[in-house]
Amino acid sequence: MERGLLKKEDLGRLLAAAQEGGRKVFAPVEGGTGPASGTGPAFAEVQAGRGVVLEYGNPALSAKGIFFPQREALCRFHGERTAEASLPQTPLLVFGARPCDARALTFLDKVFGDRLFRDPYYLARREKALVIGLACGHPGETCLCTSFGGSPAGRQGSDILAFDLGEELLFEAATDKGRELLGEQASLFREAGEAELEARRGIEEKAESALGEHLLRGLEELKEKLDRSFEDPQWERLTRTCLGCGACTYLCPTCHCFDITDEEREGLRLRSWDSCQYPLFTLHASGHNPRVNKKQRMRQRIMHKFSYTVERSGEVFCVGCGRCIRACPVNLDMREILAALARK
């Protein structure tokens, strides 16, 4: 089925049906107990479709943690021997990812799904997952998706895109997988009429217009300008008050740096999130550290996101979600840093 209208009160039934069909369902819930649950709705596993909220800008932690968990076992040890940790088997359904977060997943796909070395842990979740994105009706002041090639009703990374029309949600299939789910659950939906399609168009236009008001300018040739600016003395000034706290990288939907550590007692080799903002990230055993000060580390973050990833995978690895701007304890603002360096 290509599209349909779902009463908001039936959303739980749709998700419960997906769960009965064998999927683990993730959606933003209020007052959860896992990481991030203290700052408004957070993605958590949902049982029988209960507890999903729809009133949110963007959860503090993006959907990246569902596919690339903060902590996961890569291997198990048995004495001196190492065996593969079990790969996740259950297909997932993720509801409520904003178009920026869904698009970010396609960037992570390029890193973890690289032809040369495919990451089985990420791909086991990702390939079997169905993502229902939630289009944005009220972009925030720090939302910048359109400045970086995204859009508030963008379908990249979603199998179905949902629009909040007030009493009802309009679901639109974006992939065959999405079409299939809508078809399976067609009985929950009613057909969308011209009025609803008009409303949907209005939402997108209004959101695009709002985003246009604070579009970042001067980003043409950003990569070239950044590449030329590596030794620019401005970096020191722009990064002077950075605390190296790492909040920006952990909240960022496209940041994927990780650490691998062995937990001897548990007999596990673990992968956990890491950050280029930490001094230890690049510290050699000899004591030499190529990025010994925070200017170098913040420069790495900006260069990686806006230049190196363009070279490696053709994409600026920023989807404009604005989390880094809101989360920074010292209000370091990526918009200002880019503007300062792109000015030259």
């Binding site: 107990t33 896992g34 903060q70 002041e141 000034r237 790492g246 650490d259 930490y278 701007i325």
Partner: protein
Amino acid sequence: MNDVSRRIREKARELFATGRIDAFLGYEPGSLPLRARPCLIQAGDEDRERRVGGLVWDSFCANNLAVFLPKLFEQDPGARGKAQAPKPRLGMVVKGCDLRSVTALVREKQAPRGNLLLIGVPCAGMVDTGAVEERLAGDEVLSASEGEGGKLLVRARDGRELTLFREEVLQACCRECRFPGPEAVDLLIEGPSRKPAEGVYERIRAFEARTAEERWEAFRREIGKCIRCGACRQACPTCYCKECFAEQTDPRWIGAGTELSDAMIFHLVRIFHQAGRCVECDACLRACPMGVDLRTFRGKIVKEVEELFHYLPGFSLEEAPPLSTFKEGDGEGFITEP
């Protein structure tokens, strides 16, 4: 611009002009509403004049500026044995809590007092951005400014204009602040300041009165939100260890991920390391992207130290902190009868 801001700018200008400082640490307006942010100006900055002219003091200056001191004054390990570069002379705006952190750092030899020119500012408390957002019932703050009579004029994105009172949306640490007035500074700018709060351990006592199961559940739930980013540690002025215990590999105290026991030990140990040093500025709470309620658990340690040792940190450069002082007559019962 208020009078205090003007006087800060004048002083900074004068200190740079007379060559008395190499750097100035204050606040400038942030890029988000309800935020001012740390501003570190070096004498050699080519836009120094403009930046000095942008220094502010208002109800959004929540950051504890003392956090920058250890890095500014650290020894250069590469210059061991050879002459160290001269330490910078720093002019610095300090509110009550910041000054206590500065004092604690000076006492721990992280910054030489002689290199600091401390400008005390009157503090009426800082606005809690979360509390303002709550009053907007989920809508976003477009802009905010301070008005006369303790008013906060807030414009929401949906066009609503609200007038709030600062007192209603202050940070918890400011409402409960017992020492709003910075003393022992080099220059004190006068102005309206909070009155010290009383009965501040009520909240902790209320928590203590709950059952063990309730307390454990609360602790478990809060720490369960932690994503191990370390922002709390980085924002804390008195967390400055070059190698944090959490990162040691030999011995390995805790793992790196969000396993609950790892996260719990991290926070417990960090709180204990702050015993006798934490000034309850809530920098950790504000830095936490996940809203973990660090304040309650940390407050317990502060209360314990005050009750057991009659000691609160950051008031005296001479007084030896109780947890790093050993007296002959100290009891040893905790060793023999734990």
